[in-house]
Amino acid sequence: MKRLFYSGEGTRPGGQIEVPASRRTELTKPENYRAEPGLAAAVNVALLLGQPLLLTGEPGTGKTQLAYSLAWELDYGEPLKFETKSTSTARDLFYTYDALGRFQARESGASAEPLSYINFCALGIAIMRANDEKAVAHFLPTGFEHGGQRRSVVLIDEIDKAPRDFPNDILNEIEDMYFRIPELGNERIAAEPGMQPVVVITSNSEKDLPDAFLRRCIYYHLSFPQPERLKEIVTSRLGEFAASSSSLLKDALDLFFLLRRDASGLRKKPATAELLGWLIALRHAENGKNPLAGSPDLALSTLSSLVKTTEDQPRAEQVVRQWFKSRGR
């Protein structure tokens, strides 16, 4: 097989090997994101009614990307992302407070001003930015870049990872867009009504969310796209890169959906993100030609970008070999 970049055999072809710039950044460009009509309608309703948008769907269907696309279209800058953890509490969404650091500072005689130990998080930053800088200046720690009053998009990613209390605990705060900092006198800090952040929440549905929380959100479930729709997404994300080889795209989608079928026996089915990564890998491997038109070697060697669990690898390889066999390749 032709050497790609690295052989692992302790040999050098001579001279510096040219490695192409990563194309993965292409995938995350918000302008390349294409929302399905139902999703676009849901976003519009959320914006119209001023309610948070809750997106569910299997991983890789573009839930997170929607927030970036929305922020880009609204020209609100980069979305402020909160990555939910199994230990997250409601306070973490707004700010964190380093009590231990302050304790130690006090002991060592350094400044023990509470404000210095406050670190604002996604929604906290968004609320601060939703106010005039002067109005909230006394809450801003040193180094906090306010950047002027503006609206933001806040992404609360994978909320289902958080403990059960988390969604319930943030209900009122998200609805009224306010929070309090007990360490700074417990004063209520609320976003100006016209400047309230747009909140996008994603969930992989690993846990059922409380009914009360669901009722406060505009809900949309992103189902996995059909082949035609997926083709559009790929073309949009990869642009000319994909369009230049329509036969590759057709073959890749064919194989991709074969792997996603229940009959393939894969425990973790590949999603859109994996498909895009795989397509990039394939295109790099063979310049100009359709790498799936020949032998299965290249498809098998790049399969790890599509199927990412050890358990699924042998099954996926079998599916790929059968696919090539059925095509007489």
């Binding site: 309608a41 849901a42 959320a46 059960r164 846990k207 669901l214 809900y219």
Partner: protein, 828 residues
């Protein structure tokens, strides 16, 4: 005003109509509160205020859906619901629901159907009175006509043509009235269905739409208390410092910083793994309901299902990706684990020890196993399980014990259960054997039924038998029957009884073989039969309506007969549309619903195979072993008997009348039910009673008629036929049986001479012709009827083909015809 400038023309532009739709969704189980009602209206106002169009429908649907849906399932079906609502809204007749909420709307709806049923009931009464009046009029005219003839004897000779014409007219009128009556009911049923489909989202009867009665379960006060205990928050270490404690600790250690982390309270979460042998496993469903009711009380559950082996679990969502046990352990490490299973899959079938992989469960700190077995029956299996789990019964009491345990580890008090009979060993050891289509031996079946009766108790056994009517075992239907049927005035539905019932393999595998269904149905008394039939007929009608409890009771008490008439017609109409594999076409179900007595187990064979079975004698080659085996299997299951043969259960009078009607109305089915062997006294007794009754009736009628001196010829014919029935029976029987032997038609028969006796005996109902004022026609009709009944009887009792049956009857009649011809020729 925004509202004044609102564009009109779309149903959703009308706030009341839109709220009605939201109401509808709420009733359908959507998670909706006042927020959604307000948001839906805000959407319309917001769009209008921005000058955005409210249409077309698809556009508004896409905007409204995200407000009202909160799950993928709801989102998937929303489009359809919205479309139906829009279509329905275009009907001006459809009354808008009051914005008063669910209760008002439901009552109105229920009241509408109740009124409609009452209306039908009244119309039915008028109809019956009308028919009676017409009949009375005809009789009066006949009487006047007779009197007139008596006064004018000269006309008698000329009026013989009138007699024939009158008879024919009388028959035609009767037939027309019966047809009109049936047609009227069919029309009512058609209209009823059309209206329900328009007004009620086209709820289908295939399968039967049953309202959810699950809320009737687990309603005790203690249940809410248990939920409260299980919901109680627990403390876990927090990353935050406990300032006071830290300061105190630091001071006590001479200023050396000693951080003490605070505790924080979290709501406990539960990971529930439910053993589900089939998708419709009702034991799993019961566990699901229990968990669901607790979830409604604010408990947090993550539910997964497994089939015997919990190492691979399946999520609740259809088509969800299976998850390994170790993945669940990493995903939900701090959850309290609850396993609902009979634990058979946790033990090695070879060693009888717990499987080594069961240790994976020790990842969870708190783990419980809820078993369907009651503590009185716990043995070594539960003992083994206790090494890994807290073993608890899968009951409310079990959850109470779990709640106590989570409140500080107090020892589990042994709940005071009443001792019950053990779960039948046959079912425990070989559950799949009893769901097999091939029946075990009769002795084993009888033994199983006895064990079941002991285990379930009389009410539980009745409940199980009632589930055998409908071919599909369904959770909703089980609850419906349990709620609707009573024993000693108390409904069968009881959580404890239900728990025992759903343990049976049929309700777990959601399949009951026909041999068991028939056997169970044969155990029903006539009263029980009637109540089951009524409950299902009622369901046929009321399942088209929105489920409202009060409504059902009202109908059941007030208009049962109307409901039954309507239910039968609805069943017929549905049958016409039902596909071949529809449960409504199930033979046992149809037989039960239309006759009231279970049909025999008979596989509908393709015509080629039917020929092979029925016409074995005509085959040149010997039938294969398989065909014989099949015939033997079929034969082993003798038929359940017609009502007369079951008179011990049905009652003598009712059994006699039912049999009489059955042979008149549905002779084919009647012969199919009739025993082929044993109990030969029944047909003899039947024909004797028929003969005596027929003779007596004829005598009475003759005495009445003799004064008018007109019906004599007809009555004499009848009298002769009745008398002949005694003498003729023997001749007819011998001739028929000789014909069967001569034509070699007894090869498939297991009934022999007894069978021929039954054929002839029950064919005597043809003598009913003698009781009708049919003048010269009754003898001819009687003969035709007799021949037809004999034909059917020979085919069904002796298992022959139609061709062979015709041949047998022809051979029987030929000598008689020949004899008559000779006599006629001699006279001539």
């Amino acid at each position: 005003m925004v509202q004044e400038s609102r564009p009109i023309g779309f149903p959703w532009a009308d706030p009341e109509a839109l709220l009605g739709f939201v109401d509808e969704l709420r009733r359908a189980g959507y998670n909706l509160s006042l927020d959604q009602y307000a948001a839906a209206q805000d959407l319309v106002l917001g769009l209008t205020a921005r000058g955005e169009p409210l249409g077309p429908a698809e556009h508004f649907r896409d905007l409204l859906g995200p407000i009202l849906c909160s799950s993928p399932k709801e989102q998937a079906e929303f489009s359809d619901r919205f479309k139906r609502w829009v279509e329905r809204s275009s009907f001006p007749a459809a009354p808008p629901l009051l914005p008063g909420g669910l209760l008002v709307a439901s009552r109105e709806s229920a009241g509408g159907l109740a009124d409609e049923i009452k209306g039908l009931s009244l119309r039915r009464l008028f109809w019956v009175v009308g028919i009676g009046a017409v009949l009375g009029l005809i009789v009066s005219i006949l009487a006047i006509f007779v009197l007139w003839i008596q006064d004018e004897p000269a006309i008698i000779s000329a009026g013989s043509g009138w007699s024939v014409a009158g008879t024919a007219g009388f028959i035609a009128l009767l037939v027309a009235m019966v047809a009109a009556y049936r047609r009227w009911w069919r029309r009512r049923a058609e209209l009823f269905l059309v209206r329900r489909q328009v007004a009620d989202e086209g709820i289908s009867l295939q399968p039967l739409a049953v309202r959810d009665l699950s809320h009737r379960l687990f309603q005790s006060v203690s249940f809410f208390r248990i939920a409260q205990d299980l919901r109680r928050r627990r403390e876990i270490p927090s990353p935050d410092l406990d300032i006071t404690a830290t300061v105190a600790a630091t001071v006590s250690r001479g200023g050396w910083l000693t951080p003490i982390h605070a505790l924080r309270q979290i709501t406990p979460e539960y990971l529930v793994l439910i053993d589900r042998v089939s998708y419709l496993d009702q034991q799993a469903r019961l566990a699901d309901e229990l968990v669901g009711r607790l979830a409604e009380q604010g408990l947090f559950f993550n539910r997964f299902y497994f089939q015997g082996d919990p190492r691979i679990c399946f999520p609740r969502e259809e088509g969800g990706v299976p998850v390994r046990l170790q993945d669940l352990a990493s995903r939900y490490p701090f959850h309290r684990l609850i396993l609902f299973t009979d634990a058979v899959g946790l033990f090695s079938p070879k060693t009888g020890e717990l499987e080594p992989w069961v240790d994976q469960f020790t990842t969870w700190e708190q783990r419980s196993l809820m078993t369907p077995e009651v503590p009185e029956q716990w043995g070594t299996m539960e003992g083994g399980l206790m090494r890994v789990f807290s073993v608890l019964p899968a009951t409310i009491e079990g959850f109470a014990a779990l709640a106590r345990r989570t409140q500080g580890g107090t020892p589990l008090p042994r709940p005071a259960y009443r001792p019950i009979s053990p779960f039948p060993r046959e079912l425990r050891d070989q559950p799949l054997r009893w769901v097999d289509r091939n029946p075990p031996g009769p002795a084993e079946v009888d033994s199983l039924l006895s064990s079941l009766r002991r285990f379930l108790g009389e009410p539980g056994f009745f409940w199980l038998a009632s589930t055998a009517v409908y071919p599909a075992l369904d959770w909703g239907l089980t609850l419906y029957l349990g709620d609707g049927l009573q024993i000693d005035g108390a409904p069968l539905l009881d959580t404890g009884r239900l728990r025992s019932l759903v343990r049976t393999p049929w309700l777990r595998h959601s399949f009951m073989p026909d041999w068991l269904r028939e056997k169970l149905l044969s155990t029903l008394s006539s009263d029980q039969e009637r109540s089951v039939r009524t409950a299902i007929e009622e369901l046929l009608v009321t399942s088209l309506e929105r489920p409202v409890d009060a409504f059902r009771l009202e109908i059941a008490q007030g208009d049962r007969q109307t409901l039954r008439s309507l239910g039968r017609q609805i069943l017929r109409l549905r049958l016409r549309e039902a596909p071949e594999d529809s449960p409504l076409r199930d033979r046992v179900f149809l037989s039960f619903m239309t006759v009231g007595i279970q049909d025999q187990l008979a596989v509908r064979l393709p015509s080629v195979l039917r020929g092979l079975f029925s016409g074995i004698g005509t085959l040149k080659s010997r039938p294969t072993g398989a065909t014989w085996k099949k015939a033997v299997v079929e034969d082993k299951l003798d038929r359940p008997g017609n009502p007369w043969e079951n008179r011990a259960q049905v009652g003598i009078l009712r059994g006699y009348l039912k049999t009489l009607i059955l042979f008149v109305v549905k002779p084919l089915r009647a012969y199919k039910l009739t025993h082929r062997r044993r109990d030969h006294s029944s047909p003899l007794l039947f024909v004797t009673i028929s003969g005596i009754l027929g003779f007596a009736l004829n005598l009475v009628l003759s005495q009445i008629a003799v004064s008018y001196n007109i019906l004599v010829s007809g009555l004499l014919g009848a009298l002769v036929s009745v008398i002949l029935s005694f003498f003729g029976l023997t001749i007819w029987l011998i001739a028929l049986h000789i014909s069967l032997v001569v034509t070699r038609s007894l090869k498939n028969s297991v009934a022999g001479f007894q069978g021929s006796l039954r054929v002839v005996a029950y064919a005597c109902v043809s003598q009913l012709c003698g009781l009708m004022p049919l003048f010269c026609l009754n003898s001819l009709l009687m003969l035709i009827w007799l021949v037809l009944l004999t034909l059917i009887g020979v085919r069904e009792i002796h298992c022959t083909s139609w061709r062979r049956a015709i041949l047998v009857v022809f051979v029987t009649l030929a000598p008689i015809w020949l004899f008559l011809l000779i006599i006629s020729y001699a006279d001539w």
